[in-house]
């Protein structure tokens, strides 16, 4: 009964390849999933202001009170108890919730106004202070979570619960790639920082297909996992292996689309080290970003790498810089954090501008929540700590479609509650998508029978922030 083998096995193999399954991550354009539910079908929902994003994520929760939200009242009332009328019974974390004393702590750093916008910036951020007129500083961000893991997950996936796609994965899914040689969504983590841990879920694809997940570029010889050929295999030999594989599979060496993912991998082996190799950058670059940028894995090197990636067509670069979680000894620690990040953050904005890329690149700076106006632990003459504070904190954005020189939102004189123009995390996400030409209510993925969005069922585009 079994029919004779009617197909040569190799021929059969060839003819079972190249089918519907073959959808390489790096293919440009949006063909593979076009027409699927909720995705912008032919291009975008509306004209995009930005094509690319660099998100400078300051992990741990940078204090707004030592950076952008100037509160002289806290210095005047330094050491006095946080008034109940200000706290209004809102929850504290278990770290300071049982403290019998919640002494107000004034920032031990000088503030001054800068630029035409007159934005207040602390002495810790001298470089950022110089570019305030290019920034839109939001001082009225708020979030729902009070602990790191839920808060950072919320910021980057729109939900405190693990398992949703990250912001960058949503964008890769929505916008596709602009490069054949590099991943569309790249993650860079400052090396050797420690502090609150990071996890792959923050750049994961959740229930979206895995090809939309962020690819972490690491400092060192193997920037993408398994990218570097093992010893004994050089580029020529790899080429020969590829051709032998094609022949084995009954394909034309080098030309067949059924080898697309292999060919892409082969190209990445060249293009990724090229982008990571900063030796072709002129002296001026390092003057701008700081000498730190010569050291692989620093924040400055990553900021520079982010620009190089964007130049080569990468859509979304996410930097992570840990170490902002200053429950104690804040003054010393935040000084270090700022020193590591201030110059390069500002340099990135200026560099993009000089290259004419700022107009269609969105730069975002911020963490997962803010910090309390009272001291966690003992307040002394020159030392204090601050606990997590989700009710208000500051971020800044610049570039593609953002109104420069803007200061948005206000907090009360105690720096505890928002008094004007609150911006929720989902609002920020909606605005970011909007700038990229995506309606956040229409970017959806159906999973388990439900339509999921980055912004869940919330979020408003913040028009006042837009140019």
């Amino acid at each position: 009964m079994i029919p004779p083998r009617f197909l040569d096995r190799r021929d059969f193999l060839r003819r079972t390849l190249g089918g519907s399954l073959l959808v390489p991550t790096l293919s440009p354009g949006t063909a593979p999933l076009a027409g699927l539910l909720g995705r912008p079908k032919d291009g975008l929902h509306h004209a995009a202001k930005a094509k690319r994003v660099i998100y400078l994520f300051q992990s741990g929760g940078p204090s707004q009170l030592e950076t952008f939200d100037y509160k002289p009242l806290l210095n005047e009332r330094n050491g006095e108890q946080l008034p109940d009328s200000v706290r209004q019974g809102q929850r504290l974390t278990g770290m300071s919730g049982n403290q019998t004393s919640l002494p107000l702590a004034g920032a031990q750093f000088d503030f001054a106004q800068y630029g035409e916008s007159g934005a207040w910036v602390s002495e810790l951020l001298p470089h950022t202070a110089k570019i305030v007129d290019k920034l839109c500083i939001v001082r009225s961000m708020y979030t729902e979570a009070i602990n790191h893991d839920p808060a950072i997950t919320f910021f980057l996936t729109g939900s405190q619960i693990a398992g949703r796609p990250s912001m960058g994965a949503w964008l890769s899914y929505a916008l596709g790639s602009m490069t054949q040689d590099l991943p569309s969504f790249v993650v860079l983590v400052t090396q050797g920082k420690g502090g609150q841990p990071l996890y792959a879920r923050l750049w994961g694809a959740g229930f979206l297909p895995a090809r939309y997940q962020g690819v972490q570029l690491r400092a060192g010889t193997d920037p993408v996992l398994y990218l570097e050929n093992v010893p004994g295999i050089d580029r020529e030999r790899r080429r020969r292996m590829l051709d032998a594989q094609a022949e084995l599979q009954g394909l034309d060496p080098g030309g067949d689309t059924a080898m697309a993912k292999e060919e892409l991998a082969y190209r990445m082996q060249e293009s990724v080290p090229e982008v990571a190799d900063l030796s072709d950058e002129p002296k001026e670059t390092f003057a701008l970003y700081g000498e730190d940028a010569r050291k692989p894995g620093t924040y400055a090197a990553n900021a520079l790498m982010a620009r190089r990636l964007l130049e080569r067509g990468v859509r979304f670069v996410q930097l992570f810089h840990q170490g902002w979680d200053q429950h104690g000894s804040l003054p010393g620690a935040i000084r270090t954090q700022c020193r590591e990040t201030d110059q390069a953050s500002a340099a990135l904005v200026q560099d993009l501008e000089q290259r004419g890329m700022l107009d269609d690149t969105l730069v975002v700076w911020g963490g997962e929540f803010g910090r309390t106006n009272y001291s966690q632990g003992k307040l002394t003459a020159n030392n204090y700590g601050r606990d997590h504070h989700p009710r208000c904190f500051s971020m800044w954005m610049a570039g593609g479609g953002i109104k420069p020189g803007t200061i948005y939102g206000e907090t009360d004189p105690f720096g505890y509650n928002i008094t004007a123009h609150p911006v929720h995390v989902h609002d920020l996400q909606a605005t970011l998508l909007h700038l990229l030409g995506i309606d956040h209510e229409r970017l959806i993925w159906k999973y388990q029978g439900r339509r999921f969005r980055l912004t869940d069922v919330h979020g408003h585009v913040m028009q006042p922030l837009l140019a």
Partner: protein, 990 residues
């Protein structure tokens, strides 16, 4: 009747004109997807008081008009609204983003005209006995084939030819064991072994259980770490090994479910039955500082509900956590009624940051040696106890009020120097230091002290007691007023952050509480005074403890009078000394509320049994008892533990949470199963009865979901293509009748899964070949929904690696044990969390991927790249993608390069030609690999001219380089093998 009504899904697929409308098949998918969000089961979200998920609702008078008039489309508001040209009237509203196609409108109109019949959702209707279609063709081997062929014929399709023997063998071997066929099978089949015999061998192989356990790990969200940010290691692999055994021993599915859900509640549960319940503790857990304990505890309970729903019932209960389910008839109240079954264990929302205590409830898993030693040690304790009571006769009770002249160390606070306080007695041994603020005040004798609640007094030289040490502590207090919570004297690192491990005296709700804690709240002994402490006067409070690890050995007294106490908890089994520091302190504790509302004087510590015995025989008996206990405790502390389920004696009566928020509890809702889902039964009273309810013959989902899982294991795709959702928003099965037939057969076989798998893999349906991409049958049946060919399937992450290890001969075929750490690029753990990954040495590098250590926040990268599930939450279907990153793994993962080298070594040593290798790899006798011989030759020459590269390549991996083979030859063959293992020839299932 119901089942037969909606059988022919193919109508929609083949675009036949809609004649007779079927609600299940044609109408519900439209209503559910486009209308239910506002007109469905969720009462709170319902607009215009209209619900369309029930016929009653659709036909209700809405005040002069009716949404649906059976037989009268023109009179029906629904039809008017979905066809209105006025945007303000049109449904669904344009701004909702939903819209109906013309075809959908026509369907709804025809449905209304034909009488607007409703039917309950198919998967909520019990499996009915069904008759198989009469198919006479010789093709069919099993009833399965009759169903499949019947539908194929209706669609004008013919079955695909059978796969050739080599392909069938390779396929069935991977499907049942996750490994390629062994040489014995390859040489024995088909000449000596029938297909049935092959299948029996595979089902009998211990690798069968491994392979199916690997699939279950996604569902059980198994991981070797807790998850969340700190993501510490936890020892839960005994559960994984139980799953392997359960599959290998063919544990009937009903027991498989029952044990995992409620093994602890079975009469006299066995070790295995209790281990199985770890299933419910494998969710993520946090220890992040400052987390609200209750917030996360609630999260864990919810995870158990969601996992139970997804794993066993295929339903999305999580959608009803914050509001009524938008699509399925599951209300929010029902969610919390279900959640109540899973809420009654003594667990904490935080695992311990400062100790490595196993979160409770936990069970002990002693080795045989430990069991014997423990029995001896317990006997010794019992004998020493008997001896002591004998010599004591009626001298003393074991725990009693200690007269105030018994003193070992006394701090009297009467003289001061800087931050040191004076010692009345015992100065040579002990000291006390003020941590910060203090104020000298009048004491009960001389001066006393007042603190601020944040900074306390740190003692040293006394109080570092184990649970076998009898001890007594006392102090004088004067309270300013009623105190809700205050930490008095304790030896512990922290409250939630150390699960209170240590000993402690607290004021809670105005009452004195004493506790010895290993892990709060399930491994501790705790007593509390019945009456509140007096206020505004000096009182002396005291704890005397007899070293028994028992709450009844803890005596509290106030002002020298024995206090009436309630026993809050009596389950202490393990050490109370962890977390550091070893010394006690008073008045403050890390992230806890200290003692600021009162003053303190005269703190006393007494080690050992209180008071002299006046009798050397008593002293001796006491010393013996303490030694016996210490010996037993030390043995016990060494016994590994496993998180499991253990029901509380007193139910917690969990509550409805408004909007799903832990801090918005409303009234208790009791326990019940969802009304729409076999709800018309005696309500299960506990988890065990809940499990039995799921296994009821009439339960509509349990058997269907499992039989579909088995089918999916065999075909890569299920009869149900949305296994993650069997509710209203899920698809209809490709073959509803077949699904029901198999579900029924599974139940009637006594839930025999091996028998079901045997049947499926021996079916003609399974035997079909794959088809070429341009085969005409793909046009009609692109996703093999008719099962008219074997679906395209790539090796899973596990199969890729395990298969290569098997071919190379490196695979260590050992079953079970602690997880291992194969090769992984350096620095991945470190850059995220500062922890360091130390790869295993020796056999740990070559175990099956099931045993690879799973760290949730940094899962094994090569497996993740090949689409493994993340194991954060229960997942029943993996993504299947192809990316260049997978190619890079195939090329450069040292595991696969080393496997290529060892495969090459075997070939050269045993003179295995490329042709023979093709047979060994199960590629058939086609000489398909001979195209590589020229490649081998040219690479050999290239390596011969560059021996340095050859030895560099051969140095990859820990296995020593063979010395008996020519380097260039071996390197070239390694390159050839790597090319084969990177190719789709290897990566695609035939």
């Amino acid at each position: 009747m119901l089942v037969s009504d909606f059988v022919f899904v193919c109508a929609a697929l083949t675009q036949e004109p809609l004649q007779s409308i079927d609600f299940q098949r044609d109408v519900r998918p439209i209503l559910s997807d486009k209308c239910f969000a506002c007109h469905g089961p969720d009462a709170a979200a319902r607009k215009a008081d209209l619900r369309l998920d029930t016929r009653e609702g659709a036909l209700a008078d809405l005040g002069g008009y009716v949404a649906v008039v059976p037989g009268g489309a023109e009179e029906s508001e629904l039809i008017y609204r979905i066809t209105s040209e006025d945007r303000r009237e049109l449904m669904p509203p344009p701004e909702s983003g939903h819209s109906l196609t013309d075809e959908e409108r026509a369907t709804l109109r025809a449905w209304v005209d034909q009488g607007a019949e409703y039917a309950p959702h198919w998967s909520f209707v019990p499996v009915d006995s069904v008759l198989s279609p009469a198919v006479t063709e010789e093709w069919a081997r099993d009833e399965i084939d009759s169903y499949v062929l019947h539908r194929m014929k209706m669609a004008g399709l013919d079955p695909q030819r059978d796969a050739v023997d080599e392909d069938w063998l390779r396929r069935v071997s991977f499907v049942l064991t996750g490994l390629p066929p062994t040489m014995e099978l390859i040489t024995g089949f088909p000449s000596e072994l029938t297909r049935g015999q092959v299948v029996d061998q595979l089902l009998g192989s211990p690798h069968f259980g491994e392979h199916f356990a690997a699939q279950w790990m996604d569902i059980a969200r198994y991981a070797d770490t807790y998850g969340y940010q700190n993501d510490r290691e936890r020892r839960v692999w005994p559960y994984r090994d139980w799953v392997i055994r359960a599959y290998n021993e063919n544990l009937p599915y009903d027991d498989f479910v029952r044990w995992q859900l409620a093994g602890d509640m079975l009469p006299d549960p066995t070790l295995e039955q209790r281990i199985a319940t770890a299933f419910q503790r494998l969710h993520r857990q946090t220890n992040e500082g400052g987390s609200v304990e209750e917030e996360f505890r609630v999260e864990y309970v919810s995870d158990r509900v969601h996992t139970m729903g997804t794993a066993f019932l295929g339903l999305t209960f999580e959608c009803a956590r914050c509001h009524d389910h938008r699509y399925d008839p599951i209300s929010q109240v029902e969610y919390y009624q279900l959640s109540d079954y899973f809420d009654d264990i003594k667990e904490s929302g935080l695992y311990s940051h400062f100790t490595n205590a196993t979160p409770t409830p936990a069970m002990e898993l002693p080795s045989e040696r430990q069991s014997i030693a423990m029995a001896d040690a317990e006997a010794a304790v019992a004998a020493a106890e008997a001896k002591l009571s004998e010599v004591l006769q009626d001298q003393h009770g074991l725990a009693r009020v200690v007269p105030s002249d018994d003193v070992e160390v006394l701090f009297d606070f009467d003289t001061w120097s800087e931050d040191q306080v004076s010692l009345g007695v015992g100065a040579e041994n002990a000291a006390a230091r003020m941590e910060g603020f203090f104020k000298k005040v009048d004491g009960v004798r001389g001066s006393g002290i007042r603190l601020n609640g944040d900074e306390g007094i740190r003692f040293s030289g006394v109080g570092a007691w184990r649970r076998s040490d009898p001890f007594t502590v006392s102090m004088w207090l004067k309270l300013d007023g009623p105190i809700e919570r205050a930490v008095l004297l304790h030896r512990s690192r922290a409250w939630h952050d150390a699960a209170s491990q240590g000993w402690q005296l607290l004021i809670e709700d105005g009452r004195l509480t004493a506790a010895l804690v290993h892990f709060w709240p399930g491994d501790m002994a705790m007593v509390r005074t019945f009456d509140p402490l007096p206020i505004g006067e000096w009182i002396e409070v005291q704890l005397a403890y007899d070293g028994s690890s028992n709450a009844y050995g803890m005596a509290l007294s106030v002002n020298g009078e024995s206090a009436r106490v309630t026993v809050g908890e009596n389950s202490l089994t393990r050490a109370i000394v962890g977390g550091g520091p070893g010394d006690p302190s008073f008045g403050a504790r890390f992230r806890d509320r200290g003692f600021s509302q009162g003053v303190l004087d005269e703190v006393r510590f007494i080690s050992g049994w209180p008071g002299p015995s006046w009798d050397p025989a008593v002293d001796l008996a006491r010393a013996d008892l303490r030694n016996a206990r210490r010996n037993r405790d030390e043995l016990r502390d060494e016994i590994p533990q496993l998180m499991v389920m253990r029901e509380r004696a007193q139910p917690r009566a969990s509550r409805f949470l408004d909007r799903g928020l832990y801090d918005s509890p409303k009234g208790p809702v009791g326990r019940a199963v969802p009304t729409a889902l076999l709800g018309d039964v005696d309500q299960p009273k506990n988890r065990l009865e809940l499990a039995n309810w799921m296994l009821n013959r009439d339960h509509p989902l349990t058997a269907r979901v499992e039989v579909d899982r088995l089918w999916r294991a065999v075909f890569g795709k299920g009869l149900m293509r949305t296994p993650e959702n069997w509710g209203s928003q899920g698809e209809l099965p490709t073959h509803p009748k077949l699904l029901d037939r198999l579900a029924l057969d599974l139940m009637e076989s006594g839930w025999d899964r091996k028998a079901m798998l045997r049947r499926i893999v021996l079916s003609r349906t399974f035997a079909q070949a794959r088809v070429a991409f341009d085969d005409p049958s793909r046009a009609v049946d692109p996703e093999s929904r008719y099962w008219s060919y074997y679906p395209d399937r790539r090796l899973t992450a596990e199969m890729v690696r395990d298969g290569a290890l098997a071919h190379s001969g490196l695979l260590v075929r050992k079953i079970g044990g602690a997880s291992v750490k194969p090769y992984q690029p350096a620095g991945l753990w470190q850059e995220k969390s500062g922890q360091v990954y130390h790869p295993s040495k020796g056999e740990g590098l070559y175990r099956r991927s099931l045993y690879t250590f799973w760290k949730r926040t940094s899962p094994p990268p090569s497996m993740m790249i090949f689409d493994a599930a993340k194991r954060d939450v229960c997942v029943v279907k993996r993504q299947e993608t192809q990316t260049p990153l997978q190619v890079l793994v195939s090329w450069n993962d040292p595991q696969l390069v080393e496997a290529s080298r060892m495969l090459a070594t075997r070939m050269l040593r045993d003179s295995i030609s490329l042709e023979k290798l093709g047979i060994e790899l199960g590629f058939g006798p086609d000489h398909i690999l001979s195209s590589l011989s020229a490649f081998f030759e040219s690479e050999r020459e290239a390596f011969a001219a560059d021996l340095e590269s050859a030895s560099a390549l051969l140095g990859v991996g820990d296995t020593p380089m063979p010395e008996d083979i020519d380097l260039a030859e071996l390197a070239a063959m390694t390159i050839v093998c790597s090319t084969i293992l990177s190719s789709d020839l290897y990566l695609l299932l035939p």
